[in-house]
């Protein structure tokens, strides 16, 4: 598989990745598809120069991702966009996926967990509306990317991960990258993080179709809770819970705006 660094590559790659049949046909025919607009690897004079070159390429990829996958698809919150432009997503994926970190898809990170596709992370972040000084609880740390985005936007993030290995690596990674406003804990998340409650916002992955009652209690009045319902495709359903000023709960099934014209198109 040879990396292709032309402007045409992403389009072809996108077409390929959108169309499983095409992939199978091409693969069956012995053709190999180009990698996701991976950085070209020119023979560098020395390793350091190559490293700098790679960082520069990745930064360009990141800006391009925000422009094409996020901004163009309706995410407008400046804090969210700035965070997405800043956090180095390639640090949060498996080493083998480093050159695919900015592709428009989720990536597996082990334990049957994924890092959500960039648009989904941006959309969810916009819904949470992170601002400096906000206290946010996240249940389901995964790679730590979402926590880093929230922290980048100025929030203080408390994040709980049920898989010990993921919690440990996410913690190390966030420390190494300097996200001191994120605290990682290994645990099942059912009891929330009582000593730091209440929270302005909570994000909780709920595949089992129930919400632990303690989490609802730890949501501040006027706060927002976002429930990405996960599946093998990454996030499949998104539910927003709002706790009104009177303490009353309301939920809303979110259909990201960009899906609406798509559904109309099907009529």
């Amino acid at each position: 598989m040879s990396p292709v660094a032309t402007e045409e590559a992403p389009l072809l790659t996108r077409t390929l990745a959108v169309n499983p049949i095409l992939i199978l046909v091409l693969a069956a025919g012995g053709l190999s598809a180009p990698s996701v607009s991976g950085p070209s690897s020119p023979p560098a004079a020395n390793a350091a120069e190559a490293g700098l070159q790679e960082l520069d390429d990745l930064r360009r990829e990141r800006l391009r991702m925000v422009r094409i996958q996020i901004l163009a698809k309706g995410v407008r919150d400046p804090a969210t966009l700035e965070a997405m432009r800043t956090v180095a997503r390639e640090e949060f994926v498996l080493p083998r996926d480093r050159d695919r970190a900015y592709g428009d898809h989720p990536l597996a990170i082990g334990f049957g967990q994924s890092i959500s596709q960039p648009y989904m992370v941006a959309y969810m972040t916009e819904q949470i509306r992170p601002r400096p000084g906000m206290r946010i609880l996240e249940v389901g740390t995964g790679s730590g990317y979402q926590a880093a985005i929230l922290a980048e936007a100025g929030a203080r993030v408390y994040t709980i991960e049920i898989f010990e290995e993921l919690a440990r690596t996410a913690d190390e990674r966030l420390r190494r990258l300097g996200y001191s406003d994120v605290e990682v804990r290994h645990g099942d998340g059912y009891q929330g993080w009582e000593e730091e409650a209440p929270f302005d916002a909570i994000m909780v992955t709920a595949a089992a179709g129930y919400l632990p009652p303690p989490l609802l209690e730890q949501l501040r009045v006027g706060g927002r809770m976002l429930i990405p319902v996960g599946s093998v495709y990454g996030v499949q359903n998104l539910v927003l819970v709002e706790k009104g000023e009177d303490g009353e709960l309301t939920t809303q099934a979110l259909l990201p705006v960009r899906f609406v014209p798509l559904l109309r198109g099907l009529h």
Partner: protein
Amino acid sequence: VTSGRLALVVFLLSAAVLAFEVLLLRLFAIQYFHHFAYMAIGMAMLGFGASGTFLTLMRTRVEGREVPLLQVLAALFVVAVLVTPRLAQEIAFEPTQILWDVREARALILLYGTLTVPFLLGAAALAVGLLAAGEDGLGRIYAASLVGAGAGAGLALLLLTLLPVERALAGTAVVAGAGAAVALAPVRRPAASGFRFLYGLLALLLPALGVLAVVSPPWSVNVSPFKGLPQVESFAGAQRVGEASGPLGWVVAVEAPPFHHAPGLSLAFSGTLPRQVALFLDGSIVGAATPGPLVGARDDLAFLDWLPSSIPFLLFPPQQVLVLGAAGGTEVPVALRAGAEAVVAVELNPLLLELQERILGQDRNPFGDPRVTVHVGDARAFLSRTPRRFGVVTLAPLGGFGAAAAGVYGAGEDYLNTVEAYRSYLRVLAPGGVLAVSRWVRNPPRDMVKAIFTADEALRAEGVAEVGRALALVRSWSTATLLVKPDGFEAEDLRRLAALAGERMFDLDWPPPGLLPDDVLSPRAFHLLDDPVFRGAAASAAAGPERARAFAEAYPFNVAAATDDRPYFGRFLRLRSLPVLLREERGGWLPFAEWGSFAVVATLVQSTVMALLLILLPGLWIGVRRIFRGRKVQGATVPLGSSTVYFGAIGLAYLLVEIAAIQKLILVLGHPVYAASAVLGTFLLLSGVGSVASERLAPSRVLPACLLAAAGALVLALILPLAGVTMGLPGPIRTILALVLLAPVAGVMGVLFPLGVRLLGGKSGLPWAWAVNGFASVVAVSLAAFLAMEAGSRAVLLLGAGCYVLAGVAGWTALHRARITRPLRPGHDNCST
């Protein structure tokens, strides 16, 4: 080699090939998601087709050396059965990531390549066995291969009953080894003594290796990390507390403190959740065992009263309850808590019930309560026979809430969620009784909309005029429960329902209209949707069938009622929506992706491409070479065109009819595994009989024989859709009736291959016939699955009939041409040289 010995070799090898295929299917269903299990069929058919092409290319080298080649191929087949599953395990393949990771597509091709090898070798051995038989004995040896395959289907079931799947798979090596041993065992062989010694040694060694692999399999079952089992087992403190396996699947119970199962739990619930035991079928979660005892005030079971699926029990404290798909669900304990006098729990999979009893113990198992009667078996069969009437009938999502979560059932037949099925539920309701159907709420809404329209049609068919009065829908943020009361809701019912729902923060999406003022019903909405789809669907159902049809037609997903002819409740994607979805970028359609539908289409395309590359292209090359060099193919008069059409058509037709029969008989026999084994067994055995009989038939009878097969397929197309009417009969009688119906058709279908070989090139044409037949079979497997979803199984059978007519025409044309060149002797062919 005597013909008896040859027949025994072919019988054993054929049994091993088929058992290997069936067991690979089981292994894939466990390791990956069940629609990827179809890969095993594709691999087998590809192996068959490629073996034919290989032999066509090698024909001159094979001639006269059939027996030694058979011995070598048989031995290699055993080795491949023992080695390739181990190699396949080294290929890291994660099918769920294939949509965006091209590396997975490569892994898939590699996996295909590896596991096709045993099929290629096994099928080549069988084809060489046929060649060794000579033209006179062809029918009998072909019969041995068909009967062997039928026995292999039974063998696979037997192995699965006795052993876990990884050891069962190794069991096929024992049978293959026995086949190789019979082929290799030296009997007055004029070979050098060194060879005799080696062959004798191999004859002992190969079956022994098979036995060793059963005792200690060289491979293990690696469940996809995206399935529930490995995830829950990775939780801190998780412990596997029980496990069992059988033909209906592999069930595992895991106790893990963080695990809870409470689908749709009310946001107003403030208590604690008890410890539950997670239950998995083939590695996917199907629910939980909730330990009793249920008597007395047990606070930690209070959560049961806060689930949408519990509403019917709280609304109508029932005397008699019927729970369909009971294992792993919350309905039985809820019914008992609500004070039911008697609960009948119907569950298809006895392993789940046994496991639950084993891990909870008699005292703590709700199913062990004296008020509960457990009925193991198919719900439809139970319903058509029971004289009892029930106050509440509940239907859990197929395979429990767990399995229905990811849309993985898109491609599977579901005979519990069809109009006919819902009618049978309504018929066992006592006066004033209610049917409750619970589903996940997905966005955009799909499942529950289809459930509303399915209930609507069932109500109308049962003579209920006021559908709107007979429906009510409650919904939490993640699940919804549809209540169907054919006698119509009363104002008092509705008042209580509104109170229960309000207290639990459930929305009453469809309150039967005209009974109470709106403000009494919904003081406020708790769970907002962009579009009030559920209300709209119920309102259009209430307004009459035309409005309902118009609503379903205009909806972006397929939400029209499912029927027994197209029992695909879980399939929401429309073919005409595909181009729009595919034009969008991944992020656009990902949430709507239904693996089942995509897998079927992708498998169809991919199997066709691979089959073309490996089977047909080499054949075409032979044809082209013949034209350019002006030579006959290796000196034989094989009518390549007629042969391709004839064997292509009968290969397509055979599998189309067989698969449609399996799809229909799932309803009659209650489970895909039973239906598949019964149909496979019958088809193969009777086709075997047919192929023996073909020896008495002149090749000139090819047209009537094909037309008879077409007529058989037509009869099945007319009768099989009526299979539902036999549901009132006892199981064994239903089975016998179904098989008696299939037997003559299968018999006629078995005549056509050997008859065609004698007509179209004889021994010289056999490898090409084998190749084309294999190619057509590869395509037919996916084509049948795809067509059944799009047009129903009747269309599949009609297409099968059409293919037989085409084969008849191709055969007749070849015959006609042959007659022009030289007349045929009756009873014997002389098409080959």
